[in-house]
Symmetry: C3
Subunit: 490 residues, 3 copies
Amino acid sequence: MKRWIKSTGRPALSAVLFFCLAVPGLLLADEPPATVDVTKVLDDLTGGASALRIGLDTVWVLIAGILVFWMNAGFALVESGFNRSKNTVNILAKNFVVFGIATLSFWIIGWGLMFGDGNAFFGTQGLFFVSGADNSPALGAGYEAMNPFSTAVYEGVYNSINWTPIPLWAKFFFQLVFAGTAATIVSGAVAERIKFTSFLIFSFILVAVIYPISGHWIWGGGFLGSNNFRDFAGSTVVHSVGGWAALAGILFLGPRLGKYIDGKVFPIQGHNMTSASLGAIILWMGWFGFNPGSTMSAGDGSAIAYVMVITNIAAMTGAITAMITAWILVGKPDIGMLINGLLAGLVAITAPCAFVTMTSGAIIGAIGGVLVVFLTLLLDKLKIDDPVGAIPVHLGNGIWGTLALGLFYNNDIATTVAALPTGLGMLDQTLVQLKGIAVVAVYVFAASAIVWAILKFTLGIRVSKEEEIEGLDIGEHGNEAYPDFQARAR
Amino acid sequence: MKRWIKSTGRPALSAVLFFCLAVPGLLLADEPPATVDVTKVLDDLTGGASALRIGLDTVWVLIAGILVFWMNAGFALVESGFNRSKNTVNILAKNFVVFGIATLSFWIIGWGLMFGDGNAFFGTQGLFFVSGADNSPALGAGYEAMNPFSTAVYEGVYNSINWTPIPLWAKFFFQLVFAGTAATIVSGAVAERIKFTSFLIFSFILVAVIYPISGHWIWGGGFLGSNNFRDFAGSTVVHSVGGWAALAGILFLGPRLGKYIDGKVFPIQGHNMTSASLGAIILWMGWFGFNPGSTMSAGDGSAIAYVMVITNIAAMTGAITAMITAWILVGKPDIGMLINGLLAGLVAITAPCAFVTMTSGAIIGAIGGVLVVFLTLLLDKLKIDDPVGAIPVHLGNGIWGTLALGLFYNNDIATTVAALPTGLGMLDQTLVQLKGIAVVAVYVFAASAIVWAILKFTLGIRVSKEEEIEGLDIGEHGNEAYPDFQARAR
Amino acid sequence: MKRWIKSTGRPALSAVLFFCLAVPGLLLADEPPATVDVTKVLDDLTGGASALRIGLDTVWVLIAGILVFWMNAGFALVESGFNRSKNTVNILAKNFVVFGIATLSFWIIGWGLMFGDGNAFFGTQGLFFVSGADNSPALGAGYEAMNPFSTAVYEGVYNSINWTPIPLWAKFFFQLVFAGTAATIVSGAVAERIKFTSFLIFSFILVAVIYPISGHWIWGGGFLGSNNFRDFAGSTVVHSVGGWAALAGILFLGPRLGKYIDGKVFPIQGHNMTSASLGAIILWMGWFGFNPGSTMSAGDGSAIAYVMVITNIAAMTGAITAMITAWILVGKPDIGMLINGLLAGLVAITAPCAFVTMTSGAIIGAIGGVLVVFLTLLLDKLKIDDPVGAIPVHLGNGIWGTLALGLFYNNDIATTVAALPTGLGMLDQTLVQLKGIAVVAVYVFAASAIVWAILKFTLGIRVSKEEEIEGLDIGEHGNEAYPDFQARAR
């Protein structure tokens, strides 16, 4: 079915080792002869260690990728739990299909635009992954890329991500689950009123084009990364991008029926706090892949462990300060705020986790938790209806975390953990971060708004009033989420 | 509590290294002496690298095994979600106990029958694991097997699975969770009407005897594997076998009350789409252990990454084509079909994932997604009641995937990823696959039918009409799943 | 974003290897010269292997830690599922915040008390982690500790946990999730009637002080460990400690309204068996990190695999015997007993998993499953109200497992798997275990009782009757868990 490690063949080395080991033995011939085949042992070892290194890195990055993949379940549960039961099937279905769309669009074009060699703005090499990877006699160029021992071909293609020696497909998988996350962020904000097909089309464009281009600027060799902008695991690359796309969407969509009437806010309660809580724990767990996995190798265990612990601490301070802030403002420790505070801390620490001290991490999370409550109240003031709090969590804290990398920038941590020091002081780094935030904001918001606008004036993006009242589950899918209970519930 | 690595003691090697390192130093005595204990470093390294290799492989295979284990949660949620609330406790309880039964039966006899050395049909060595593993003074033979450095004993016993150097208990765990999966497939098909005890007895026999024997044919050194039949991770070994056992079961059981009346089909809606969707994501996640973990070592990171990505792509094309097919046929993107399309793609890619190109994987999943919708409709035509779609998903796509390995067979991929090339062309490989499918079909269906028949005419396999109407939760367990809500629901 | 492995610089070794490799070549000058840079390869290899070892161990321990972290979701779901829907939000919220509290309290003081060098009773070095880890110019002492290659500082501080070479933060994360588990055990027992704030204060004290001190006795270099008391993964350190704290709590709290009336027991049914079952599978999965991860290195794959399998077998025999015992005593295979039997087997095997044979593991689990049913009935006789069965599961089986380590003690397994043989016979080991159980019992119960008493007579620990009847979700949080369904349910 499977096999043990490939022979990696290093005959020249074996020959040298043979002399090294055999000759002294000849000189002292009265010594007992070796009872093990030393040449073989050392040869195995040498070959084995290269494969071991790649095996270990691959295992770590893929497991981290699985944890990020798992965040799909977290988003599905938090989003559906925070919305009404009549729209549950729609939200769940969106979460499945959006990852399918992301897989295909990132495979076809997104990966190449993001990580392909090219100019400062987008990749121009290895654009169509499918043709690069699975083409020509003996499977051709891309197939070679699969084999880490024959990297000749893709090293001229995806240089921006060649700092980690894991196989190309491992890189692809890890980056794919990140791209899928960005699309899922939008899903929550536009819930309970968006047309299923229009959402799918937007998601395709987001993951195929919009997300990879700004990603290229920061992680793919583009102008922001080369100008010292830093974002370790994606507060901006993933979360703000998803957040800006979502904000554009809900501005075009408008609030749900009944949310704002005569200047008053009528809170719409989510139908399942068990779902929402389980989803939040899943997201938290997934972040242990998201942030520490962004080392994309296991070559430095200390860095992985550091990022793991700081991620958890920021999550916890975020949850606690959000709970306390809500307690003070509304009188009770509301579970929705607790959950969004947790997520706020996680989003905020995503960029700076490898650039700041542990104590700074605790402070960044704590501020994130306060911020999320105030931003939620602000959105209601502005009558911007965001059913799950995606804007406060992903956009607000994505910006905050990216900025915090500058404000709390520590060169020793940057050198040791991130291995990407800029040498800039706090002020300069903060200015660089600010510029990056602004550039991404303008680009993603504008690009998303154009797509949403086109969709609005062609296919339409909002379901009918009747369907919104009855629920999208019946209208879009012909299903009910809980038919044994729901007839009575509606 | 615990410790660092054992000293592995290789004195002969140390001696040789000593001479290698010390003698040249003597010849050039004016050189600075070594400031580190080189002998020790290299000795540690040599011993360490062997232990590293085994440690890494063990960690990878056990984590993959944990992911497959986790599929128990996925099956429990998909099955209970797709059925009515009044049978939820019964389905959940079955899922717990069936894994308990599987653990014990595979430990007692199944493992030995499957992987023990023997003839072309079943294992005859190391049959009773308990006695092989935990017996005689100083714990005896089996205990030695636990220690990878003293493999003398079990190498003469489980040769078919000695291609991977992981410890025996790691092999056992990984194979156990596979065996448990086969039994769980049956659970969904027979839901809402089977007697609890009869199901437990069938599961015991399936995992103790039926599953290991056909498994031996393919993975345990038996006649199918040695005749070039290939099944990387178990489209046939696990999924079709479970599917045939389930099909035999539901033919003996008959449809649920009220499903088919006067030639018409009355769909019975599942009670919880949140459960079903979460379960589906869990299964999908589990497959990232099921398929890539079937490398059973981390010696080739590229192979693991390749299998991971192709598994995900087939899942996604399956979900999307099933959704579109349902959309065309019934007018809406039904979530049940979306979920079963996802699972269909996963089952279909399980056999060929290490033998076909990435594009072929996308096509195999896409066809699986269409197939699952048509098979679901066909079963209803035939009045075969399969509450969760286990037959379309696991049997139909298990067959399809096994066949697809032949139809899309690529020798380069087989050589590089699976390391098990047959050298046969597409046509010949397809014929070999077809023969294997047929042999397994006849054997498993017949053996299962005999067991179901004996159970039917002794203990009985179906609950009373009264119990079926009231629900098996009360009847079999004296529990309700949702007592706060259910009185109103029934 | 990140980088490949750091150069680890071992010039002395390189020099020696150079002579080893170059000199023989000079002696046989007619031999072909090496075509690879052997010195570099071996140097990379040596440096690489150290980093590989640490990388692999870190990855394994952190993944195991993530699995233990994941048990938070399991506890949240089992506890909320076994209770009524009107208290669901409260239970879920407690589970979030208690981990936040645990993170902060263990970071601030708990870790130092437990693993800091000190006397036989508690740690006195490295007490305040925050100052040790993140202090002074260039981040100072603690920051060095993060780097495994400069361990000078913390080796004089945390000697008791220096047997594993993983980075300090990896040790911290793994131990933190254990500490969090102990606090969560209390949560279930005091459910449906405890004041939110009082519970949070108790949790803080438990994780900051009570848990680390008894932990120090056993794992931190204290008097129990040095007197041959053994507890591989925490039947006593974690589960009994949590259990004693819980028992003290519910004695002060008293039973829920309506549970015991006029000498009769009125069972209060849990609201969601889907939640409870999913939670139980999550806990089971988490235990595959809890027990095998307690190796805290991947240096011995065999030990990890052994502990994995014995953990699963004990879980399964526990589930099956509990089901059968309930079947005999109450006439049906109750799912609550099935789940608690599973957990009982897991708790019971936690101490002895690396000290007993596989068959002994099966027996220990089986006895645990019977025990949990009888203890549950006993508690009701005594009118001690434990809504989730935390006392039978964690306290009863924590004690049983710790004792079983002695009763089934096998020196060969202890030497090979745990690497911590005592050489004591069965009787002597059992006596040692008994003494340890008694000492921990007296200490934890007394300390907890004092804290509960102070809380009771200051802030109060029980909600008002009105709030208990209406549900804590409204009273403590102003939320409902299932607003679409619940108005009708109450």
